[in-house]
Subunit: 412 residues, 2 copies
């Protein structure tokens, strides 16, 4: 049987309009055309279809402008109820579930304290099925469809096969989790590295839009990295590229959570800092191998207040981070290295030593003009990125589905 | 004035035919069509034009096949005289000039011993002008045009601006050499990192054709690297990416030629090996900071013959190389790491320690399935790569030029 022919340029234009409305909010047809290089006639025709399919709404025209000039424009916006996606962030001892609407806004978020390291692959699968089912039952009323799920995982994942290869949050390896969930929930399931989710949020910000080579480093319990080349995460052969935390500072150096020695993570992650500090400083008791946000806050505060032992520990972490970043500069020569994650709260106590280590390590021509900046961790960008990635990945399906329901089929 | 419209698909097809003839040698029209996904009619029309323009020749049909079946095919081949390119390889204390014909074959090669470190930027420019002029006068008779020049330089270059940023062969920095030579010789001048030239030759070989993420490491006086992502060298923001030699083995470790400490190069390059060895072993005298091929051969031979001191020195180099490669695996997760360059002659004495260091550094999931192989350095691939890159970069111009001369202008 011959497949129906597809007007790909019409489809691309429709997806571009949806994406612009999601990234920039309500917009006038004329502006959508200009932003995407599409004629007014085409935008008018696309928006008529999207209206008919229930994917967008019209806003009543705004009141005339204060200066009285110009006719008020009718704005269109995505119908938030048209579809939703679920993002699950899996990190050590915690699972977060977030529901995002079709406009990309977060509508619900819940955290669960779970001993992730004691789970088997089957346990994790059952647990996620249970939590996703519950959130669907409670939160998804009113939404036309569950378009997709994004699983954002700390560690090495193969996005292509949907397999968690290795995560510090889990004691099992090589679990093909995404296809299982896709079968259970009858929707697309993306599996992403958490740092790639965060980097996708940052890369969309105007301040970083001109960076063709962007490196994002995430400090926290572990140390993650994402390398975006022309906006696309560089994954390598099997998805294990950008494992900055396990590049080396000192051969045969400090013990890392991975079981090897001398990794950057073994000096500059939460657990490495707390391990150094717990014998020497008066800190909250608790699992010092997996320090809580409260424990880390107490340690960071000591360094910020000038405690010399805490300062020495953070400076040592800064040196390790600096040598690691020097290697990243020598190998990737990025436009920008952006340091973020919960651990960035202690960055002020690291950065002098970090910059000194970079300058010690590289001649000026290799240090280059790469900007090295930090980015406050005032909100968790992982789920924001996961929601956006899941929506972008499923817009085509949502469009097809709504066309089928509305009886129109011009786009596909 | 309106520009004439260009039939880009016709042009692309013509360039693809030229490139296939260069890579694979004489071919029948039908095979050229099949290899490039072009119809027979188009290949026939393209080859008629190329014949008229003097860019290809027809070979007399071969004698009928032994089995008597099938009509002998007429083969077409590039006319080697249609154009030529010059590649200059600039390395420490040596300049090599090579002339390549339109079919990509090397027609002439000459070496000059030059104290490159004593040259100013103006000296180098004058010297290259002089040598290129001489080679043009002596060697270029019979060629229809000098299509281009490729300068292959050890170190950091900006291919985009044609500037040598920093080379271990030169004591000056930031010299915009390519635009000067382009003005002098009225042709395109490419400036390339030497490792990228070598990697382009290797990547074209069938054995490595399936590697989307290929890392080539060059051992020799310095240590170079090229990262090919989908066949394209990854250059980074300013062209200084893939500087593997100056990534770190030991912070505050051995002194590197760059002036910093602890670089991989300070352990595994020719000069690093010779520096360690010259006090301890009976080796040919000479400039131990810039050991000659003969000096290195003597040292390598001692290690291969089982001299314990030489073996210890090569094992130490192998460990440093292994830690550096572990970082490359963690950060790039390539399909293949290919080790070559003149220094690969001592690779057998390094590789056990190198593999042990990689396995010590990385857990199996990060070690991944990357193949790590060596490639014999029985011919210098730098100039072969430079010739191919210069030809590929100038085929469009050669085509335009020959169309103008022949009065035909269908392709452009």
């Amino acid at each position: 049987m011959a497949l129906p022919s597809i007007d790909t340029s019409r489809l691309d234009n429709t997806l571009a309009v949806i994406r612009t409305l999601r990234d920039q909010g309500p917009a006038a047809r004329i502006d959508l055309g200009a932003l995407n290089g599409i004629s007014s006639a085409t935008v008018t025709s696309i928006s008529a279809e999207l209206l008919q399919q229930g994917l967008i709404n019209e806003r009543p025209p705004e009141t005339p402008r204060a200066n009285g000039r110009g006719r008020p424009k009718t704005l269109i916006e995505l119908d938030p109820q048209a579809a939703c996606v679920v993002c699950i962030k899996l990190s050590i001892n915690e699972i977060q579930l977030v529901v995002g609407d079709f406009a990309g806004q977060i509508r619900h978020s819940e955290h669960h304290a779970i001993s992730t390291l004691t789970l088997s692959a089957a346990d994790l699968e059952a647990l996620l099925e249970d939590k996703i089912s519950a959130v669907c039952t409670q939160q998804l009323r009113g939404f036309q469809r569950l378009a997709g799920i994004c699983l954002a995982v700390q560690g090495v994942v193969s996005s292509q096969s949907g397999t968690i290869i290795w995560s510090p949050a889990l004691s099992f390896r090589n679990a093909p989790i995404a296809p299982r969930l896709a079968e259970r929930f009858h929707c697309s399931v993306l599996l992403e590295n958490d740092a790639n989710c965060i980097a996708s949020v940052l890369a969309a910000q105007p301040a970083y839009a001109d960076c063709n080579n962007l490196v994002v480093i995430m400090l926290g319990y572990g140390i993650g990295m994402s390398v975006l080349i022309n906006g696309v995460p560089y994954l390598g052969a099997n998805g294990s590229a950008a494992e900055f935390g396990h590049s080396k500072y000192q051969p045969d150096g400090a013990l890392c959570a991975c079981g090897r020695r001398g990794c950057i993570e073994a000096y500059a992650s939460d657990y490495a800092l707390y391990r150094e500090a717990s014998d020497l400083l008066d800190l909250p008791t608790g699992d010092s191998a997996h320090p809580s946000a409260q424990q880390m806050q107490a340690l960071t505060q000591l360094a910020m207040q000038g405690d010399p032992v805490a300062q020495r520990i953070y400076a040592q972490a800064g040196r390790a981070l600096g040598v690691g970043i020097a290697n990243v500069l020598a190998l990737f020569n990025p436009d920008l290295v952006l340091i973020t994650g919960s651990g960035v709260r202690g960055f002020d106590a690291m950065q002098a030593a970090m910059h000194a280590a970079i300058d010690d390590a590289l001649v000026a021509e290799l240090r280059g003009t790469t900007r090295i900046e930090s980015c406050a961790w005032d909100r968790d960008m992982t789920c924001m990125g996961g929601i956006a990635m899941a929506l972008n990945a499923t817009d085509g399906e949502t469009l097809l589905d709504s066309q089928a329901k509305s009886g129109s089929a011009t786009c596909l």
